[in-house]
Protein backbone atom coordinates (compact mmCIF):
# COMPACT_ATOMS: atom_id res chain seq x y z
CA UNK A 1 0.00 0.00 0.00
CA UNK A 2 1.09 3.60 -0.54
CA UNK A 3 1.09 4.26 3.13
CA UNK A 4 2.05 7.93 3.28
CA UNK A 5 0.21 8.84 0.12
CA UNK A 6 -3.05 7.29 1.18
CA UNK A 7 -2.97 8.78 4.65
CA UNK A 8 -2.06 12.25 3.42
CA UNK A 9 -5.57 12.46 2.04
CA UNK A 10 -7.19 11.66 5.36
CA UNK A 11 -10.26 13.76 5.92
CA UNK A 12 -12.82 14.19 8.66
CA UNK A 13 -15.70 11.76 8.44
CA UNK A 14 -18.76 13.38 6.86
CA UNK A 15 -21.65 14.35 9.11
CA UNK A 16 -23.72 11.52 7.61
CA UNK A 17 -21.55 8.91 9.36
CA UNK A 18 -22.87 9.99 12.75
CA UNK A 19 -26.29 8.74 13.81
CA UNK A 20 -27.61 12.09 14.98
CA UNK A 21 -31.20 11.84 13.80
CA UNK A 22 -34.15 10.49 15.70
CA UNK A 23 -36.24 7.54 14.56
CA UNK A 24 -33.42 5.81 12.71
CA UNK A 25 -34.45 2.40 14.04
CA UNK A 26 -32.04 -0.35 14.99
CA UNK A 27 -28.46 0.31 13.94
CA UNK A 28 -27.92 -1.72 10.78
CA UNK A 29 -24.65 -3.11 12.13
CA UNK A 30 -25.88 -3.79 15.65
CA UNK A 31 -23.68 -6.48 17.22
CA UNK A 32 -21.59 -6.88 14.05
CA UNK A 33 -18.67 -4.75 15.20
CA UNK A 34 -16.57 -5.51 18.26
CA UNK A 35 -13.79 -3.95 20.32
CA UNK A 36 -11.09 -6.48 21.10
CA UNK A 37 -7.91 -4.68 22.11
CA UNK A 38 -6.90 -1.72 24.24
CA UNK A 39 -3.62 0.18 24.42
CA UNK A 40 -2.77 3.09 26.68
CA UNK A 41 0.32 5.23 26.90
CA UNK A 42 1.58 6.30 30.30
CA UNK A 43 0.22 9.65 31.46
CA UNK A 44 2.16 12.83 32.12
CA UNK A 45 1.17 16.27 33.30
CA UNK A 46 3.18 17.96 30.54
CA UNK A 47 5.59 17.01 27.80
CA UNK A 48 9.16 16.71 29.13
CA UNK A 49 10.74 17.19 25.70
CA UNK A 50 11.79 13.55 25.25
CA UNK A 51 10.88 12.12 21.83
CA UNK A 52 9.23 8.99 23.24
CA UNK A 53 6.96 11.16 25.38
CA UNK A 54 5.88 13.46 22.55
CA UNK A 55 2.30 13.13 21.41
CA UNK A 56 3.54 11.11 18.45
CA UNK A 57 5.64 8.89 20.68
CA UNK A 58 2.86 8.12 23.12
CA UNK A 59 0.47 7.45 20.24
CA UNK A 60 2.84 4.83 18.87
CA UNK A 61 2.87 3.22 22.31
CA UNK A 62 -0.92 3.19 22.52
CA UNK A 63 -1.45 1.80 19.02
CA UNK A 64 1.14 -0.92 19.45
CA UNK A 65 -0.39 -1.73 22.81
CA UNK A 66 -3.83 -2.19 21.26
CA UNK A 67 -2.45 -4.41 18.51
CA UNK A 68 -0.57 -6.58 20.95
CA UNK A 69 -3.50 -6.73 23.38
CA UNK A 70 -5.87 -7.93 20.68
CA UNK A 71 -3.40 -10.43 19.25
CA UNK A 72 -3.82 -9.37 15.63
CA UNK A 73 -0.97 -9.46 13.17
CA UNK A 74 -0.10 -5.80 12.45
CA UNK A 75 -0.20 -6.64 8.76
CA UNK A 76 -3.90 -7.47 9.15
CA UNK A 77 -4.74 -3.95 10.31
CA UNK A 78 -6.40 -2.18 7.39
CA UNK A 79 -7.93 0.90 9.00
CA UNK A 80 -7.00 3.84 11.23
CA UNK A 81 -9.49 6.31 12.66
CA UNK A 82 -8.17 9.11 14.83
CA UNK A 83 -8.46 12.75 15.82
CA UNK A 84 -5.71 14.92 14.33
CA UNK A 85 -6.21 17.57 17.02
CA UNK A 86 -4.31 16.87 20.20
CA UNK A 87 -4.34 20.10 22.16
CA UNK A 88 -5.66 20.40 25.68
CA UNK A 89 -5.48 24.17 25.19
CA UNK A 90 -1.71 24.39 24.77
CA UNK A 91 -0.15 25.47 21.46
CA UNK A 92 3.49 25.76 20.44
CA UNK A 93 4.42 29.34 21.40
CA UNK A 94 5.14 31.64 18.46
CA UNK A 95 8.83 32.31 18.16
CA UNK A 96 9.87 29.44 20.41
CA UNK A 97 12.50 27.25 18.68
CA UNK A 98 11.02 24.02 17.38
CA UNK A 99 11.95 20.81 19.25
CA UNK A 100 14.10 19.39 16.45
CA UNK A 101 15.48 16.53 18.55
CA UNK A 102 12.01 15.12 18.95
CA UNK A 103 10.92 16.02 15.43
CA UNK A 104 13.91 14.28 13.87
CA UNK A 105 13.62 11.24 16.10
CA UNK A 106 10.72 10.15 13.86
CA UNK A 107 9.79 10.04 10.23
CA UNK A 108 8.27 13.46 9.75
CA UNK A 109 5.67 14.99 7.47
CA UNK A 110 5.77 18.43 5.84
CA UNK A 111 4.56 19.96 9.08
CA UNK A 112 7.33 19.85 11.71
CA UNK A 113 4.83 20.10 14.57
CA UNK A 114 3.04 16.98 13.32
CA UNK A 115 3.66 14.50 16.15
CA UNK A 116 4.34 17.35 18.59
CA UNK A 117 1.22 19.52 18.83
CA UNK A 118 -0.96 17.71 16.31
CA UNK A 119 -1.07 14.33 14.73
CA UNK A 120 -1.91 13.22 11.22
CA UNK A 121 -2.71 9.71 10.07
CA UNK A 122 0.17 10.15 7.64
CA UNK A 123 2.61 10.70 10.54
CA UNK A 124 1.31 7.62 12.34
CA UNK A 125 1.65 5.37 9.31
CA UNK A 126 5.11 6.67 8.40
CA UNK A 127 6.24 5.70 11.89
CA UNK A 128 4.56 2.31 12.00
CA UNK A 129 6.16 0.41 9.13
CA UNK A 130 4.62 -2.77 10.49
CA UNK A 131 1.20 -1.50 9.36
CA UNK A 132 1.55 -2.62 5.76
CA UNK A 133 -2.12 -3.07 5.01
CA UNK A 134 -3.84 0.16 6.01
CA UNK A 135 -6.10 1.29 3.16
CA UNK A 136 -8.68 3.28 5.14
CA UNK A 137 -7.94 6.35 7.24
CA UNK A 138 -10.49 8.80 8.58
CA UNK A 139 -10.68 11.52 11.18
CA UNK A 140 -13.23 11.53 13.99
CA UNK A 141 -12.91 15.08 15.21
CA UNK A 142 -12.85 16.25 18.78
CA UNK A 143 -12.43 13.22 20.93
CA UNK A 144 -12.42 9.44 21.18
CA UNK A 145 -16.22 9.46 21.41
CA UNK A 146 -16.48 10.63 17.81
CA UNK A 147 -13.61 8.47 16.55
CA UNK A 148 -15.43 5.43 17.96
CA UNK A 149 -18.59 6.27 16.00
CA UNK A 150 -16.60 6.71 12.79
CA UNK A 151 -14.67 3.47 13.28
CA UNK A 152 -17.71 1.44 14.28
CA UNK A 153 -19.61 2.63 11.24
CA UNK A 154 -16.63 2.02 8.95
CA UNK A 155 -16.18 -1.56 10.15
CA UNK A 156 -19.92 -2.17 9.90
CA UNK A 157 -19.98 -0.73 6.40
CA UNK A 158 -17.13 -3.03 5.38
CA UNK A 159 -14.69 -0.21 4.62
CA UNK A 160 -12.20 -1.74 7.04
CA UNK A 161 -12.26 -5.08 8.84
CA UNK A 162 -9.51 -4.48 11.41
CA UNK A 163 -9.42 -0.88 12.47
CA UNK A 164 -7.32 1.00 15.00
CA UNK A 165 -9.03 3.86 16.81
CA UNK A 166 -6.79 6.49 18.36
CA UNK A 167 -7.08 9.59 20.49
CA UNK A 168 -4.09 11.46 21.89
CA UNK A 169 -3.57 14.61 23.90
CA UNK A 170 -0.56 16.85 24.34
CA UNK A 171 0.02 19.35 27.08
CA UNK A 172 2.88 21.83 27.29
CA UNK A 173 4.33 24.20 29.84
CA UNK A 174 2.18 27.16 30.77
CA UNK A 175 -1.24 27.62 32.16
CA UNK A 176 -4.40 26.36 30.57
CA UNK A 177 -6.31 28.94 28.50
CA UNK A 178 -3.82 31.66 29.37
CA UNK A 179 -2.26 31.97 25.95
CA UNK A 180 -3.42 33.60 22.77
CA UNK A 181 -5.98 36.37 22.72
CA UNK A 182 -6.53 36.20 26.44
CA UNK A 183 -3.17 37.76 27.12
CA UNK A 184 -3.64 40.69 24.73
CA UNK A 185 -5.79 43.77 24.81
CA UNK A 186 -8.10 43.64 21.81
CA UNK A 187 -10.02 40.60 20.59
CA UNK A 188 -11.93 40.01 17.35
CA UNK A 189 -15.51 41.25 17.39
CA UNK A 190 -17.10 37.84 16.83
CA UNK A 191 -15.40 36.15 19.75
CA UNK A 192 -15.73 39.28 21.91
CA UNK A 193 -19.49 38.72 22.08
CA UNK A 194 -18.77 35.79 24.38
CA UNK A 195 -15.28 36.19 25.70
CA UNK A 196 -15.23 39.84 26.85
CA UNK A 197 -16.87 38.72 30.07
CA UNK A 198 -13.98 36.48 31.06
CA UNK A 199 -16.04 33.41 31.70
CA UNK A 200 -13.86 30.32 32.17
CA UNK A 201 -14.54 27.15 30.19
CA UNK A 202 -16.74 25.71 32.92
CA UNK A 203 -19.02 28.76 33.03
CA UNK A 204 -21.80 27.42 30.81
CA UNK A 205 -21.98 24.23 32.83
CA UNK A 206 -21.76 26.20 36.08
CA UNK A 207 -24.78 28.32 35.27
CA UNK A 208 -26.75 25.31 34.03
CA UNK A 209 -25.98 23.70 37.35
CA UNK A 210 -27.05 26.87 39.18
CA UNK A 211 -30.35 26.81 37.31
CA UNK A 212 -30.72 23.11 38.12
CA UNK A 213 -30.17 23.73 41.83
CA UNK A 214 -32.70 26.59 41.88
CA UNK A 215 -35.29 24.56 39.98
CA UNK A 216 -34.99 21.36 41.99
CA UNK A 217 -33.88 22.70 45.37
CA UNK A 218 -30.44 21.03 45.28
CA UNK A 219 -27.04 22.25 46.39
CA UNK A 220 -23.45 22.07 45.20
CA UNK A 221 -22.45 20.15 48.35
CA UNK A 222 -24.63 17.28 47.10
CA UNK A 223 -22.02 16.67 44.38
CA UNK A 224 -19.44 15.60 46.94
CA UNK A 225 -20.24 11.85 46.87
CA UNK A 226 -20.00 11.85 43.08
CA UNK A 227 -16.58 13.51 43.16
CA UNK A 228 -15.35 11.21 45.92
CA UNK A 229 -16.62 8.13 44.06
CA UNK A 230 -15.08 9.29 40.77
CA UNK A 231 -11.68 9.84 42.29
CA UNK A 232 -11.85 6.54 44.19
CA UNK A 233 -12.65 4.72 40.95
CA UNK A 234 -9.91 6.62 39.15
CA UNK A 235 -7.36 5.60 41.76
CA UNK A 236 -8.24 2.01 40.80
CA UNK A 237 -7.55 2.75 37.13
CA UNK A 238 -3.84 1.94 36.67
CA UNK A 239 -3.83 3.71 33.30
CA UNK A 240 -4.97 6.99 34.86
CA UNK A 241 -3.00 10.06 35.84
CA UNK A 242 -3.96 10.25 39.49
CA UNK A 243 -3.29 6.55 40.06
CA UNK A 244 0.09 6.82 38.36
CA UNK A 245 1.37 10.09 39.80
CA UNK A 246 -0.61 11.48 42.69
CA UNK A 247 -2.81 8.96 44.48
CA UNK A 248 -4.93 11.65 46.15
CA UNK A 249 -8.49 11.14 47.27
CA UNK A 250 -11.01 13.95 47.20
CA UNK A 251 -13.00 13.62 50.40
CA UNK A 252 -16.29 15.51 50.82
CA UNK A 253 -14.40 17.89 53.13
CA UNK A 254 -11.72 18.46 50.48
CA UNK A 255 -14.39 19.11 47.88
CA UNK A 256 -16.33 21.57 49.97
CA UNK A 257 -13.14 23.45 50.89
CA UNK A 258 -12.00 23.88 47.29
CA UNK A 259 -11.85 27.31 45.73
CA UNK A 260 -14.39 28.42 43.17
CA UNK A 261 -13.47 28.72 39.54
CA UNK A 262 -16.86 30.02 38.42
CA UNK A 263 -19.24 29.55 41.31
CA UNK A 264 -21.02 27.12 41.51
CA UNK A 265 -18.18 25.24 39.77
CA UNK A 266 -15.13 24.68 41.93
CA UNK A 267 -11.62 23.44 41.27
CA UNK A 268 -12.53 19.77 41.62
CA UNK A 269 -15.51 20.07 39.29
CA UNK A 270 -12.87 20.80 36.64
CA UNK A 271 -10.55 18.19 35.22
CA UNK A 272 -6.81 18.58 34.82
CA UNK A 273 -5.18 18.61 31.37
CA UNK A 274 -2.62 15.86 30.87
CA UNK A 275 -0.74 14.06 28.12
CA UNK A 276 -2.07 10.63 27.30
CA UNK A 277 -3.00 8.45 24.36
CA UNK A 278 -5.40 5.53 24.03
CA UNK A 279 -6.11 3.16 21.19
CA UNK A 280 -8.65 0.44 20.58
CA UNK A 281 -8.82 -2.26 17.99
CA UNK A 282 -12.21 -2.75 16.35
CA UNK A 283 -13.02 -5.61 14.06
CA UNK A 284 -15.96 -7.56 12.73
CA UNK A 285 -17.84 -9.83 15.09
CA UNK A 286 -16.67 -12.88 13.10
CA UNK A 287 -13.00 -11.96 13.25
CA UNK A 288 -13.30 -10.92 16.89
CA UNK A 289 -14.22 -14.43 17.91
CA UNK A 290 -10.86 -15.70 16.62
CA UNK A 291 -8.83 -13.22 18.67
CA UNK A 292 -7.44 -13.52 22.14
CA UNK A 293 -9.66 -11.10 24.09
CA UNK A 294 -13.36 -11.47 24.73
CA UNK A 295 -15.17 -9.38 22.10
CA UNK A 296 -17.16 -6.42 23.32
CA UNK A 297 -19.92 -5.89 20.79
CA UNK A 298 -21.11 -2.46 19.76
CA UNK A 299 -24.89 -2.31 19.73
CA UNK A 300 -25.20 1.28 18.58
CA UNK A 301 -23.59 4.64 18.22
CA UNK A 302 -25.59 7.85 18.47
CA UNK A 303 -24.80 11.54 18.36
CA UNK A 304 -26.23 14.87 19.42
CA UNK A 305 -25.68 17.82 17.11
CA UNK A 306 -28.09 20.20 18.82
CA UNK A 307 -27.06 23.84 19.05
CA UNK A 308 -28.32 26.13 21.77
CA UNK A 309 -30.56 28.98 20.69
CA UNK A 310 -28.19 31.61 22.06
CA UNK A 311 -24.96 31.94 24.06
CA UNK A 312 -25.28 29.03 26.46
CA UNK A 313 -27.78 26.18 26.71
CA UNK A 314 -30.60 26.68 29.16
CA UNK A 315 -31.62 23.87 31.50
CA UNK A 316 -34.70 23.28 29.33
CA UNK A 317 -32.51 22.93 26.25
CA UNK A 318 -30.20 20.54 28.09
CA UNK A 319 -32.99 18.32 29.38
CA UNK A 320 -34.79 18.24 26.05
CA UNK A 321 -31.62 17.16 24.31
CA UNK A 322 -30.36 14.59 26.81
CA UNK A 323 -33.78 12.94 26.64
CA UNK A 324 -33.62 12.98 22.85
CA UNK A 325 -30.10 11.54 22.91
CA UNK A 326 -31.24 8.75 25.20
CA UNK A 327 -34.05 7.85 22.80
CA UNK A 328 -31.53 7.62 19.96
CA UNK A 329 -29.12 5.54 22.05
CA UNK A 330 -31.78 3.06 23.12
CA UNK A 331 -33.61 2.84 19.82
CA UNK A 332 -30.54 2.04 17.76
CA UNK A 333 -29.29 -0.50 20.30
CA UNK A 334 -32.69 -2.11 20.79
CA UNK A 335 -32.44 -1.75 24.55
CA UNK A 336 -34.08 0.20 27.35
CA UNK A 337 -32.66 1.91 30.42
CA UNK A 338 -33.37 -1.29 32.35
CA UNK A 339 -30.77 -3.13 30.28
CA UNK A 340 -27.87 -0.95 31.43
CA UNK A 341 -25.52 -2.75 33.80
CA UNK A 342 -23.78 0.54 34.51
CA UNK A 343 -23.23 3.94 32.95
CA UNK A 344 -20.04 5.71 31.91
CA UNK A 345 -21.19 9.08 30.66
CA UNK A 346 -18.73 11.94 30.50
CA UNK A 347 -17.79 14.10 33.47
CA UNK A 348 -15.44 16.82 32.37
CA UNK A 349 -17.11 18.95 33.87
CA UNK A 350 -18.44 17.02 36.82
CA UNK A 351 -21.44 19.34 37.05
CA UNK A 352 -23.02 17.98 33.88
CA UNK A 353 -22.75 14.27 34.59
CA UNK A 354 -26.21 14.38 36.16
CA UNK A 355 -27.69 15.84 32.97
CA UNK A 356 -26.41 12.86 31.00
CA UNK A 357 -27.70 10.21 33.40
CA UNK A 358 -31.05 11.88 34.03
CA UNK A 359 -31.55 12.00 30.26
CA UNK A 360 -30.76 8.29 30.13
CA UNK A 361 -33.13 7.60 32.97
CA UNK A 362 -30.38 5.49 34.48
CA UNK A 363 -31.95 3.30 37.21
CA UNK A 364 -35.21 5.10 36.62
CA UNK A 365 -34.02 8.50 37.83
CA UNK A 366 -35.90 11.50 36.50
CA UNK A 367 -34.87 15.09 35.93
CA UNK A 368 -33.83 16.65 39.21
CA UNK A 369 -33.18 13.34 40.96
CA UNK A 370 -29.52 12.56 40.23
CA UNK A 371 -28.06 14.46 43.16
CA UNK A 372 -30.28 12.54 45.56
CA UNK A 373 -29.20 9.37 43.74
CA UNK A 374 -25.57 10.37 44.40
CA UNK A 375 -26.31 10.19 48.14
CA UNK A 376 -27.01 6.44 47.77
CA UNK A 377 -24.50 3.66 47.00
CA UNK A 378 -23.06 4.57 43.59
CA UNK A 379 -19.85 2.61 44.07
CA UNK A 380 -18.50 -0.18 41.87
CA UNK A 381 -19.49 -2.62 44.60
CA UNK A 382 -23.13 -1.61 44.66
CA UNK A 383 -26.15 -2.21 42.45
CA UNK A 384 -26.03 1.23 40.80
CA UNK A 385 -22.47 2.01 39.68
CA UNK A 386 -21.98 5.61 38.57
CA UNK A 387 -18.97 6.41 36.40
CA UNK A 388 -16.98 3.28 37.30
CA UNK A 389 -14.12 4.57 35.14
CA UNK A 390 -13.74 7.55 37.43
CA UNK A 391 -13.80 9.65 34.28
CA UNK A 392 -11.76 12.80 33.91
CA UNK A 393 -12.24 13.61 37.59
CA UNK A 394 -10.69 10.30 38.56
CA UNK A 395 -8.04 9.92 35.86
CA UNK A 396 -7.27 13.30 34.24
CA UNK A 397 -8.54 14.97 31.11
CA UNK A 398 -8.77 12.52 28.22
CA UNK A 399 -12.45 12.07 27.44
CA UNK A 400 -11.79 8.36 26.90
CA UNK A 401 -11.55 6.63 30.26
CA UNK A 402 -15.24 5.80 30.10
CA UNK A 403 -14.81 3.91 26.84
CA UNK A 404 -11.79 1.94 28.03
CA UNK A 405 -13.68 1.14 31.21
CA UNK A 406 -16.77 -0.15 29.38
CA UNK A 407 -14.60 -2.49 27.32
CA UNK A 408 -12.54 -3.65 30.29
CA UNK A 409 -15.56 -4.13 32.55
CA UNK A 410 -17.41 -6.22 29.99
CA UNK A 411 -14.24 -8.23 29.34
CA UNK A 412 -14.02 -8.63 33.11
CA UNK A 413 -10.49 -7.31 33.26
CA UNK A 414 -11.04 -4.01 35.05
CA UNK A 415 -8.80 -5.21 37.89
CA UNK A 416 -9.70 -3.71 41.26
CA UNK A 417 -12.18 -1.45 39.51
CA UNK A 418 -14.31 -4.40 38.32
CA UNK A 419 -17.97 -3.86 39.13
CA UNK A 420 -19.15 -6.48 41.57
CA UNK A 421 -22.71 -5.45 42.38
CA UNK A 422 -23.94 -5.98 38.82
CA UNK A 423 -23.11 -8.31 35.94
CA UNK A 424 -21.20 -6.26 33.36
CA UNK A 425 -23.28 -6.97 30.26
CA UNK A 426 -24.53 -3.77 28.64
CA UNK A 427 -23.14 -0.28 29.19
CA UNK A 428 -23.21 3.15 27.61
CA UNK A 429 -20.41 5.68 27.39
CA UNK A 430 -19.91 8.97 25.63
CA UNK A 431 -19.76 12.70 25.62
CA UNK A 432 -18.58 15.31 25.83
CA UNK A 433 -21.34 17.87 26.22
CA UNK A 434 -25.00 17.25 26.91
CA UNK A 435 -25.59 19.29 23.73
CA UNK A 436 -23.13 17.93 21.21
CA UNK A 437 -21.77 14.50 21.98
CA UNK A 438 -21.22 11.00 20.65
CA UNK A 439 -22.30 7.87 22.47
CA UNK A 440 -21.69 4.15 22.22
CA UNK A 441 -23.54 1.12 23.58
CA UNK A 442 -21.31 -1.84 24.45
CA UNK A 443 -22.43 -5.38 25.11
CA UNK A 444 -21.07 -8.76 26.16
CA UNK A 445 -23.23 -10.41 23.49
CA UNK A 446 -24.06 -9.37 19.92
CA UNK A 447 -27.64 -8.69 20.94
Amino acid sequence: MARGGRAAMSTPAPASVYRSGEGLGLWEHRGKVAAVGIGHSPTARRWDGKPANSVGGISLAALRGAIEDSGVDPADVDGLVMDPTTTTGAFWPQGKPLPWDAINAYERTDDPLDGITRLSAEWMLKNMPELTGVQFTRYGMGCMSSAICVAAQAVGDGRTHTCLVLKSWHNLEGRYYQGGANAGNAIPGSSAIRSLWGTPACFGTAVQFAEYCRKYGKSHDMMAPFIENSRNNGLKFPEGYWAQHRPEEITPEDYKAARWIAKPANLFDNDMPIMVSAAYLFTTAERARQLKQKPVYILNHASSRTRPRSLTPTLDEVEEDTARTARKIYEGAGITAADLSFENMYDGFALFHQFHIEGLGYRGIKFGEALDFYQTDISIGGPNPVSPSGGNIGCGRSRFWMHTDCIQQIQRRASSRQVTGVKPEVAVSGGPMPLGGNFTVWSSTPG
Binding site: H245, E248, E249, W260
Partner: protein, 119 residues
Protein backbone atom coordinates in the same frame (compact mmCIF):
# COMPACT_ATOMS: atom_id res chain seq x y z
CA UNK B 1 6.40 35.15 65.62
CA UNK B 2 6.69 34.64 61.86
CA UNK B 3 4.25 32.53 59.86
CA UNK B 4 5.29 30.95 56.55
CA UNK B 5 2.82 29.45 54.10
CA UNK B 6 4.12 27.23 51.31
CA UNK B 7 2.51 26.61 47.96
CA UNK B 8 3.30 23.04 46.81
CA UNK B 9 3.13 22.57 43.03
CA UNK B 10 5.91 24.49 41.32
CA UNK B 11 7.30 25.59 44.68
CA UNK B 12 8.37 22.52 46.67
CA UNK B 13 10.53 19.70 45.34
CA UNK B 14 7.58 17.37 45.91
CA UNK B 15 5.41 19.56 43.71
CA UNK B 16 3.97 18.79 40.28
CA UNK B 17 6.00 20.31 38.64
CA UNK B 18 8.82 20.20 41.19
CA UNK B 19 9.95 23.52 42.61
CA UNK B 20 13.32 24.50 44.05
CA UNK B 21 12.50 24.32 47.75
CA UNK B 22 13.37 21.04 49.43
CA UNK B 23 11.43 19.40 52.20
CA UNK B 24 14.57 19.91 54.30
CA UNK B 25 14.16 23.63 53.73
CA UNK B 26 10.66 23.47 55.19
CA UNK B 27 11.86 21.29 58.04
CA UNK B 28 14.59 23.76 58.83
CA UNK B 29 12.20 26.75 58.80
CA UNK B 30 9.95 24.82 61.13
CA UNK B 31 12.97 24.08 63.30
CA UNK B 32 13.60 27.82 63.66
CA UNK B 33 10.34 27.93 65.57
CA UNK B 34 8.26 29.57 62.85
CA UNK B 35 4.63 28.73 62.17
CA UNK B 36 4.62 26.67 58.98
CA UNK B 37 1.96 25.23 56.72
CA UNK B 38 0.76 24.76 53.16
CA UNK B 39 -1.70 26.63 50.98
CA UNK B 40 -2.25 24.71 47.78
CA UNK B 41 -4.75 23.57 45.18
CA UNK B 42 -4.19 19.99 46.31
CA UNK B 43 -6.97 18.46 48.39
CA UNK B 44 -6.42 19.34 52.03
CA UNK B 45 -6.29 15.63 52.90
CA UNK B 46 -3.52 15.18 50.31
CA UNK B 47 -1.56 18.13 51.72
CA UNK B 48 -1.76 16.62 55.20
CA UNK B 49 -0.68 13.23 53.81
CA UNK B 50 2.29 14.83 52.07
CA UNK B 51 3.50 16.48 55.28
CA UNK B 52 2.95 13.30 57.28
CA UNK B 53 4.96 11.33 54.72
CA UNK B 54 7.89 13.66 55.34
CA UNK B 55 7.45 13.76 59.09
CA UNK B 56 6.81 17.49 59.16
CA UNK B 57 4.26 18.56 61.73
CA UNK B 58 2.70 21.58 60.04
CA UNK B 59 0.52 24.14 61.74
CA UNK B 60 -2.02 24.40 58.91
CA UNK B 61 -2.94 22.99 55.50
CA UNK B 62 -5.50 24.95 53.52
CA UNK B 63 -6.92 25.52 50.05
CA UNK B 64 -5.59 28.29 47.83
CA UNK B 65 -8.23 30.85 48.77
CA UNK B 66 -7.94 30.42 52.54
CA UNK B 67 -4.94 32.56 53.51
CA UNK B 68 -7.28 35.09 55.12
CA UNK B 69 -8.53 32.37 57.45
CA UNK B 70 -4.95 31.39 58.25
CA UNK B 71 -4.16 34.98 59.20
CA UNK B 72 -7.22 35.13 61.41
CA UNK B 73 -6.31 31.86 63.13
CA UNK B 74 -2.66 32.54 63.95
CA UNK B 75 -1.16 35.48 65.77
CA UNK B 76 2.09 36.49 64.09
CA UNK B 77 4.01 39.70 63.45
CA UNK B 78 4.69 38.83 59.83
CA UNK B 79 2.91 36.48 57.45
CA UNK B 80 4.70 35.13 54.36
CA UNK B 81 3.36 33.10 51.47
CA UNK B 82 5.86 31.44 49.13
CA UNK B 83 4.60 30.47 45.71
CA UNK B 84 5.31 30.37 42.00
CA UNK B 85 2.24 31.98 40.49
CA UNK B 86 1.34 35.61 40.03
CA UNK B 87 -2.41 35.00 39.85
CA UNK B 88 -2.80 32.15 42.32
CA UNK B 89 -0.10 32.96 44.87
CA UNK B 90 1.12 36.56 44.74
CA UNK B 91 -2.15 38.42 44.27
CA UNK B 92 -4.26 36.45 46.79
CA UNK B 93 -1.41 36.49 49.32
CA UNK B 94 -1.11 40.25 49.16
CA UNK B 95 -4.89 40.64 49.28
CA UNK B 96 -4.92 38.55 52.46
CA UNK B 97 -2.25 40.72 54.09
CA UNK B 98 0.67 38.35 53.51
CA UNK B 99 4.08 39.29 52.20
CA UNK B 100 4.74 37.33 49.05
CA UNK B 101 8.01 35.60 48.20
CA UNK B 102 9.03 33.75 45.08
CA UNK B 103 10.88 30.52 45.97
CA UNK B 104 14.26 32.00 45.05
CA UNK B 105 13.55 34.97 47.34
CA UNK B 106 12.56 32.69 50.20
CA UNK B 107 15.99 31.07 50.38
CA UNK B 108 17.56 34.48 50.98
CA UNK B 109 15.44 35.27 54.02
CA UNK B 110 17.18 35.62 57.40
CA UNK B 111 15.18 32.72 58.83
CA UNK B 112 16.63 30.29 56.32
CA UNK B 113 20.01 28.67 56.00
CA UNK B 114 21.90 28.14 52.78
CA UNK B 115 22.27 24.78 51.15
CA UNK B 116 18.61 23.81 51.27
CA UNK B 117 17.74 24.50 47.67
CA UNK B 118 17.30 21.70 45.18
CA UNK B 119 20.23 21.81 42.74
Amino acid sequence: MILVSFDIDGTLEEGDPPGILTMDFVRQVKGEGLLVGSCSDRPISAQRALWARHGIDVDFAVSKHMLGEVKASFDAEVYYHIGDREDLDKRPAEQAGFRFLWPHEAVAMPWTKTGSVRP
